[in-house]
Assembly symmetry: C2
DNA sequence: TTCCTGGACGAATTTCATTCGATGGATGCG
DNA sequence: CGCATCCATCGAATGAAATTCGTCCAGGAA
């Protein structure tokens, strides 16, 4: 809840670049003693500013060479169906990201598949077949780049 | 290059859930001695299967409460402009993800902004003003969920 | 000024990471 | 079948790091 100061932001930026950075190295980088640095990181974690640490995997090396974005348009926007279909989309193993959107598209789902046959079965069974779904539009993803969120150190 | 066995996949899954897991705990979880486990993790890193470790930050707590998806359609698909505009989009501080797509939309860009004014300026200055850009369509992101890639332990 | 609070420090302790030689199972070949 | 080779694993040793905790200092309030 406390506003983030410059040191907090430096910590966040560093851990965004390399979440496995040792506390000692991180402390040196931000100019604090290791113990003080650790206390800050723990605070950032408990306050939910750091939500977690994830390894970034190469999907191709896992046999998932085909990525797609599936735009989902619902039939009617009654409250309950909205939450249900969102949970359904997030629960699919092929799903790696779900956007809930305003506009004609209600959900945009980023999926990873082995091949086109896998994608075909997925779209049929887990999207088109759903009663809440009015129509979908599938786009092939040629490349995907994920970046860190900006950490404005102006403060 | 060696195919991933069951233990590799368990390691990947664990580090995807918590990249800061200690090597000792990870070893216990996969049923290896710490030294053996460490060797595997290092191999996964050098082979590029683990591409990095990132802290996941809460964007709202950083004063970035507004997220949008900007669909970009280019004027002409001449090779060079394509790469240039992609680099440009990735270089924006507000950008957190870039999809290069097949279909009528050439790029889809996920951006985070402070407020609507920030978003307005961004779309004007960094998107619409670009000569390569034919038109854009901006959609408000109500919620965004990112999940790990599926780790099939069938092998 | 004096008290009080919140961070920061650094030594001490515990836990962990990393290295390295040895072991054992699998493979392939004589 | 016996033997040599290879590769992954193990576990002890060592060096390094994480974590705890008592102390100190600066800033704000009374």
């Amino acid at each position: 809840m406390t506003p983030l100061d410059r040191i907090d932001r430096t910590i966040l930026e560093a851990l965004q670049n390399n979440a496995r950075l040792s506390n000692k190295a991180l402390a040196a980088q931000v100019g604090l003693a290791p113990s003080s640095c650790l206390a800050r990181v723990k605070r950032l974690e408990t306050e939910g500013i750091i939500q977690g640490y994830r390894a970034e995997l190469n999907v191709r090396s896992m046999g998932l060479g085909l990525q797609a974005l599936i735009a989902v348009q619902l039939r009617q926007h009654v409250g309950e169906a909205f939450g249900n279909i969102g949970d359904h989309l997030r629960s699919l193993p092929e799903t790696v990201a779900v956007y809930c959107l305003g506009g004609t598209t209600d959900f945009l789902v980023h999926v990873v598949c082995r091949d086109t046959e896998h994608l075909r079965v997925l779209t049929n069974q887990s999207f088109t077949n759903r009663p809440e779904v009015s129509r979908i539009e599938t786009s092939l993803v040629f490349s995907f780049t994920r970046l860190g969120v900006p950490v404005d150190k102006g403060a």
